[in-house]
Subunit: 360 residues, 2 copies
């Protein structure tokens, strides 16, 4: 399976920001740059050979990966007992770096770099790196697409288990097995199966609670394909739905559908949120839609941009984002419907294709 | 199920460090303090009422949790569109904070606080907070113990699946189902099933590879009970073991056994590592034991202290740590054996009780 390779983009970013190099620490940024899961830090100079600092635990895997990489990356073995910060300083000096961009650092490391380089020669490039990651290239789109296909297999398994007496955790176990069978290499987040009153908690944690007739059940799951993830939610009912359940389901689905119909490059993130939120507000449930409409995703399950009030950023083509309105009635139950979608110039495509409805 | 409550310890830490308050952002520190999973930031003043900043997504759960908490914590709702940093500044001003401790912050937030308070009035207390977390109280020990019992159920399931033709990912799926049945509320890390040459990669990721006769198979898994985790590894063989496999297994097990026999409060972390490493070095496999002997664990699966060369910290009673030597022969295969243990004044106890041996 292919993996991402974006060293060129980071090198260009260094040049553009007039930095001699970028020091990368966030694991997902190292993976974005090199397709390698592991390693402690990566130094990407504007010119010359990048170097990755790797502990013994990742050394064999790193040597294997970089022996087949499209361009040379020096693998630097950080030996047991060596301090990562000492080694980082040494490497930056050897490379002759004077102006340094970075993505994220512990305060202690930042302070040490500030002493060494001068605060004015350090630049926080976390934002610009996120900007690069937002727009997915062809390979990334294919991997997210495949991760969505895997997630659908998990949702199919879930939909067949909406029976009284099963516990939330038991259903999570069955979903996980289905996802692994589908080839998911990692669960991007702790799967949510939230039944009855638990379904009114957007970030509920699955428990030993048994499903009962009349429960709403929110199922929120995702999959990972070659490091890229998917995220989707459906809400089911155990037995026959009651009127209030059908009502909030209908409203949430209408909000989602309208947002998906509106979503395209050139809109502000907050505008897409507004489309869905208006539907829910007009139906009188505004106070019960307690979170933003969605978020970007790719290597991580929560990436910029946020589709939420106050986020005025303009969406671009090839962004992958979630669209997930919800209504949560404390003590009673909640409905959330979520899809992963790919944004185009003139619209968007739902990648997590699975039927809607409390009884799909 | 009971959850941790350590606000008192943090309040004392604030006093001791002459800080008016500690600003806590790391999710596991918020959980350590309050037993609440969620929330964006927590402010613990040396005197007076703590406050937790909570988005809409966690609001109902937070209100529920803190209405039953042993002491008053003000739940501050961060509304959609409000910036967390703005709200944090406002809250700190309202509380009259002048000297502030913190655990971790994005550089941007740190710089803003530095402007507001003066760099000299900020103190990085991440180390002292880790120090508090290292030593487990009675409840924490019971939860880790229970998480270990759950992990053993997962390992039992794994041990029955060492047959040619099964894929690594399929076995991971079965393990996850067993863990969920045992009540594990979250997988603390992506479970490793690494077979054949993959077993030589300490941080291997499970793949679609089918098990073959003669493979070594490293299985590394854990469970979570009320927010506290366990971590264990066994190595199995498919079919009959070869001589070299038995040899490295015997050496790794001897290294582990000797380290466990030696482990007690008052030893330096590096000294325990040395006990195990000497066994492996004397057998001629020193270069193939490429990582430290172990690590602390509790709310997170990797917590201080590290049991590794260069870590001179003295171990204390009631620490929970892993003991996990390994030998990895690139291209051929590897063996790792890992237990979670509880450190006493005069010894330690293995909490992940499961037979040893390539064919247990």
């Amino acid at each position: 399976m292919k993996v991402p390779w974006h060293l060129g983009k980071l090198r260009s970013l260094a040049s553009e920001k007039e930095a001699d190099a970028i020091l990368i620490s966030r694991p997902s940024n190292i993976f974005y740059a090199t397709g390698f899961k592991g390693g402690s830090r990566l130094v990407v100079p504007a010119e010359g050979e990048p170097a990755i600092l790797v502990g013994g635990v990742d050394l064999t895997a790193a040597q294997e990966r970089f022996s087949k990489a499209p361009e040379v990356v020096r693998v630097e073995h950080v030996r047991l007992g060596e301090k990562l910060d000492d080694r980082t300083m040494k490497l930056l000096k050897e490379m002759g770096i004077r102006k340094l961009g970075f993505d994220e650092l512990p305060i202690k490391t930042y302070s040490r770099l500030a002493k060494e380089f001068g605060r004015g020669n350090l630049a926080d490039l976390s934002g610009p790196i996120w900007d690069l990651r937002k727009s997915k290239d062809e390979l990334e789109k294919e991997l997210v697409r495949e991760a969505c296909r895997m997630a659908v297999k998990g949702m199919e398994a879930a939909s067949e288990l909406m029976e009284p007496g099963r516990t939330e955790l038991e259903i999570v176990g069955e979903i996980e097995e289905a996802l692994r069978k589908a080839g998911s290499e990692e669960h991007p987040f702790n799967i949510i199966v939230a039944s009855g009153p638990n379904s009114a908690l957007p970030h509920a944690r699955a428990s030993g609670r048994e499903l009962k007739k009349g429960d709403l059940v929110v199922v929120d799951l995702g999959a990972t394909c070659s490091g890229y993830v998917s995220d989707m939610t459906r809400t089911f009912v155990v037995g026959k739905p009651e009127g209030w359940q059908e009502e909030i389901y209908r409203i949430v689905r209408e909000a989602q559908e309208k947002a998906i119909m509106a979503l395209r490059a050139g809109l502000k993130a907050s505008e897409v949120d507004r489309v869905a939120r208006s539907v829910i507000e007009e139906a009188g449930y505004g106070p019960y839609f307690v979170h933003g409409l969605g978020h970007g995703l790719g290597i991580e399950v929560h990436e910029p941009p946020r589709l939420a009030p106050g986020f005025e950023e303009v969406l671009g083509a090839n962004y992958t984002v979630t669209v997930e309105p919800g209504i949560y009635l404390p003590g009673r139950g909640g409905v959330r419907i979520e899809d992963t979608v790919l944004v185009f110039e003139d619209g968007c495509e739902v990648l997590t294709e699975f039927p809607y409805g409390l009884k799909p």
